[in-house]
């Protein structure tokens, strides 16, 4: 073998040995380090955000919903990361409209994760993706939307940027509606495309909340409340609408309000849910409790005469309490209707501190109602042993010297409206989870009065809205209303020692229809400064407007026929009202037959036939649709032989 061949073989062997040695170094000696580097570059553990549950109103309208949006982040430790300055420049170029101040400072040494821009608009995400900025990654995040804007903002609350509930139902039910995140491990190729998913756990979506709140009712309440606050140049206001049959909260509003979609721009005053957080001295609305205590104890009857001492009463230490008018002898009914402080004090003193305190407690004053809203306050009900007779009893009997929230007061009135049952107010009616539905049933919180007492108190409170009462402006056409106005004097919190200020909480709380209650509505206006500040003047008209619209929306027919034809001597009936409201004309009545008896209904519309049969005192069973073609019993059948119901078969296109 020649020397040249030996040299060549030797060189090749050395080269091969060098390559092999390097391979051993990379693959064996430094396997751990390079393996970890490769895994970090190719693999990623992605958290899968759970969809946050939606919030629906009582009719299934979407009040809050979440949408998946893209967020961009950077990993400065990635090999392709170009450095902070070039990276930020590229991002700024791709997102010229976004405020990126502070982005540079977020890149602290050693950090592997830096948020670049969160919750991007779809167009922004597209531009960033097209820019293909090295080291930039995307993650999916959920963004909360409130499609109805500021509607029910205090009830719904809002979520922070991390999708954690911060106020309202979003906060209280956060654990329920947030869901549980999942994860997945993804292996990417050189271009960042996922090529393998070695493992994954799916996220668990959050539960949906269905509310008792009805968006349409809430809208009416907010619209009227907003206007009332503005017209009276008040500092704020609150309104509550309850269903007295269940304790369901149909609407709950506070003014000023805010848009939960941009809550950061709202001040604390806007974000405060006054209806459950603010407690104030209610004033005369609390006379309802004094009246209930007195009637339940058998101390007074509605027609008993009470001397109102010409409108002034002197308590111990020369404390004098006056009425608005110098009333003399008044029936207890009129004491309540005219809201005489003196008359109420005299009855309250007769009831006594212990009984009055017990009754207030039974109505839920001095403790939280337990409504499913955060930050509810209990109000202040001084313990009975601290009452200084007689003036504490005197003050409390007409609603001063204690404090309550709007919701507490409305709930107490709902107990009277509901015949004596106090419910725990409820905002959420149903929680729909992936594995089942939790129905929230009405929960009885107590029975503060007997049904008989409730009837008597109802009749007393009807007088408040009738001529001669303090709140005639609360009267709702076609419906009887029971309620009470209040003008509670407030202590100036900036100077408590100075006693009561000129600050008035003008309120009206009542229910309608009074004999078949569907709605309890409370309106409270804080410090009205434009004209008179009494509840009957400020809050009662708002009650009337709310009740009128809500009853129409709910399709509650007029039930108070007295207002229809007051000059007619005949006993008013709804039958007559209906005929007046829907004049049928001669062509809309059944044809009488010569032999008498049941008339001929053929050719009438279903509506005309139902009204006509109602006039005759007959029930009717309709079959089919259209106009009456056939009837049973036939026309001419003597009325005595007509059964309890008339059968009418309808056909299309046979109008008379």
């Amino acid at each position: 073998m020649s020397a040249r061949v030996v040299l060549l073989v030797g060189a090749l062997a050395l080269w091969a040995a060098a390559v092999a040695g390097r391979l051993v170094q990379l693959q064996v000696v430094e396997h751990g380090r390079f393996g970890a580097l490769a895994a970090r570059q190719q693999q990623r553990l992605e958290e899968l955000a759970p969809p946050r549950g939606a919030i629906f109103d009582a009719k299934g309208r979407r009040l809050a919903a979440s949408m998946e949006v893209q967020s961009a982040f950077a990993d400065p430790t990635l090999p392709e990361f170009p450095g902070v300055a070039p990276f930020v420049r590229q991002v700024e170029k791709a997102l010229p409209a976004r405020d990126l101040s502070g982005l540079r400072e977020r890149f602290e040494p050693g950090r592997r994760f830096v948020w670049v821009a969160r919750q991007l608009e779809p167009a922004e995400a597209e531009r960033l993706e097209e820019a293909r900025i090295p080291g930039l990654r995307f993650d999916t995040e959920s963004r909360r939307f409130y499609p109805m804007g500021s509607l029910a903002s205090h009830v719904l609350g809002f979520v922070g940027i991390d999708h954690v509930g911060l106020e309202g139902l979003e906060y209280l039910y956060d654990e329920e509606i947030r869901g549980t995140p999942g994860w997945r491990r993804v292996v990417h190729d050189g271009e960042g495309r996922p090529v393998e998913r070695p493992g994954a756990v799916a996220p668990r979506p959050g539960a949906d909340l269905h509310l008792e709140i009805d968006a349409a009712i809430q809208y009416v309440v907010e619209r009227v409340l907003r206007r009332t606050v503005r017209e009276h140049r008040a500092e704020g206001g609150s309104a509550v609408v309850l269903d007295p049959r269940t304790g369901g909260v149909l609407a709950l509003a506070s003014m000023p309000d805010f848009d939960p979609g941009s809550f950061a721009t709202a001040g604390p005053d806007q974000r405060r849910n006054r209806a459950v957080v603010d407690h104030y001295e209610p004033g005369s609305t609390l006379k309802m409790v004094t009246a209930t205590a007195a009637i339940e104890a058998g101390l007074v009857e509605p027609d008993d005469r009470i001397d109102c001492l010409n409108g002034a009463i002197t308590l111990e230490r020369g404390i004098r309490i006056r009425d608005h008018h110098p009333y003399g002898l008044l029936s207890f009914r009129d004491v309540i209707a005219k809201s005489s402080n003196v008359g109420t004090i005299r009855v309250g003193l007769h009831v006594g501190a212990t009984r009055l305190h017990e009754r207030l407690q039974a109505f839920g004053f001095g403790r939280r109602t337990g409504v499913d809203l955060p930050s509810e306050t209990a109000g202040l009900l001084p313990p009975a042993e601290s009452w200084r007779e007689p003036w504490t009893t005197a003050y409390i009997s007409f609603g001063q010297g204690l404090s309550a929230t709007s919701l507490q007061i409305a709930n107490a009135f709902a107990a009277v409206a509901g015949g004596g049952t106090l419910y725990r107010p409820r905002v959420v009616s149903r929680i729909v989870r992936r594995d089942g539905v939790e129905e929230r049933r009405p929960e009885v919180a107590g029975r503060p009065l007997e049904p008989d007492t409730a009837r008597v108190v109802t009749s007393l409170l009807e007088g408040v809205v009738e001529p001669g009462g303090t709140a005639t402006r609360a009267a709702v056409p076609g419906h009887r209303v029971a309620g009470k106005s209040g003008s509670g004097q407030q202590v100036d919190l900036a100077d408590v020692g100075a006693g009561y200020s000129d600050r008035i909480m003008a309120s009206f709380v009542g229910w309608v229809p009074s004999r078949d209650p569907r709605l309890v509505i409370l309106v409270a206006i804080d410090h009205p400064r434009n004209g008179p500040d009494e509840g009957g003047y400020v809050a009662a008209p708002a009650f009337r407007e709310m009740a009128t619209e809500i009853l129409a929306y709910l399709g509650v027919p007029a039930s108070d026929d007295r207002l229809w034809d007051p000059d007619d001597g005949a006993e008013p009936t709804l039958h007559r009202v209906a005929a007046a409201a829907l004049p049928l004309g001669s062509e809309g009545t059944p044809r009488p037959v010569e032999a008498g008896g049941l008339p001929e209904f053929s050719g009438l519309s279903a509506r005309q036939a139902v009204l006509a049969s109602a006039r005759l005192g007959l029930q009717v069973r309709l079959h089919g649709r259209g106009f009456v073609g056939r009837q049973s019993p036939p026309a001419g059948t003597p009325f005595e032989q007509v059964g309890p119901a008339l059968d009418l078969w309808l056909q299309e296109g046979v109008a008379r």
Binding site: R61, R62, L63, A65, S66, M67, E68, T140, F145, P147, M148, G149, L151, R193, P194, V195, E196, R197, A215, A216, Q218, Y219, P477, G478, T548, A552, G555, V556, P557, A558, S559, D561, L563, W564, E571, T573, L574, H575, V577, A578, A580, A581, L582, T589, P590, P592, G596, G597, P599, V610, L611, A612, A614, R615, L616, G617, L618, V620, F639, E640
Partner: protein, 132 residues
């Protein structure tokens, strides 16, 4: 003297005989037999890996599509909800000249019957025969 001669002789390499090497062919066959399955296996493996890769890309594209459709659905739900805002509906209703029901516009058959039975006995009304 000018002499030249040419010897022409046909060379016949009788000792070099082209024969078929049966052993070599057998060895080649054995090598092919040994290598072919390995090569085929490798090709199959590469093909399967490519298929997996392609399927992975397809899954990714489908997931992306699903996600986009889901996002679209959510967008539409939010849009639908914002279009049914009560203030918007009220504005449209007012534009169309709609008003709240007036007193007496709402009458239900149930209330008629209830009022009828409360106010006067049916017989009293029936005596007259003809409706009023």
């Amino acid at each position: 003297m000018n002499t030249s001669y040419v010897v022409r002789r046909r060379v016949e390499n009788e000792y070099l005989v082209r024969v078929r090497d049966r052993r070599w062919r057998r060895e080649l066959g054995l090598v092919v037999l040994a290598v072919l399955p390995v090569a085929l296996g490798l090709l199959l493996n590469i093909w399967a890996q490519l298929r997996v890769l392609q399927a992975s890309y397809d899954i990714d594209a489908l997931e992306q599509q699903l996600s986009e459709l889901e996002d679209r659905r959510q967008q539409l739900e939010v849009t639908e909800a914002s279009l049914s805002r009560p203030d918007r509906v009220r504005g449209l209703a007012l534009e169309l000249g709609m008003t709240l029901p007036r007193e007496g516009d709402l009458v239900t058959a149930e209330s008629l019957y209830a009022a009828r039975s409360d106010s006067s006995p049916p017989g009293a009304r029936r005596e007259g025969g003809a409706p009023r």
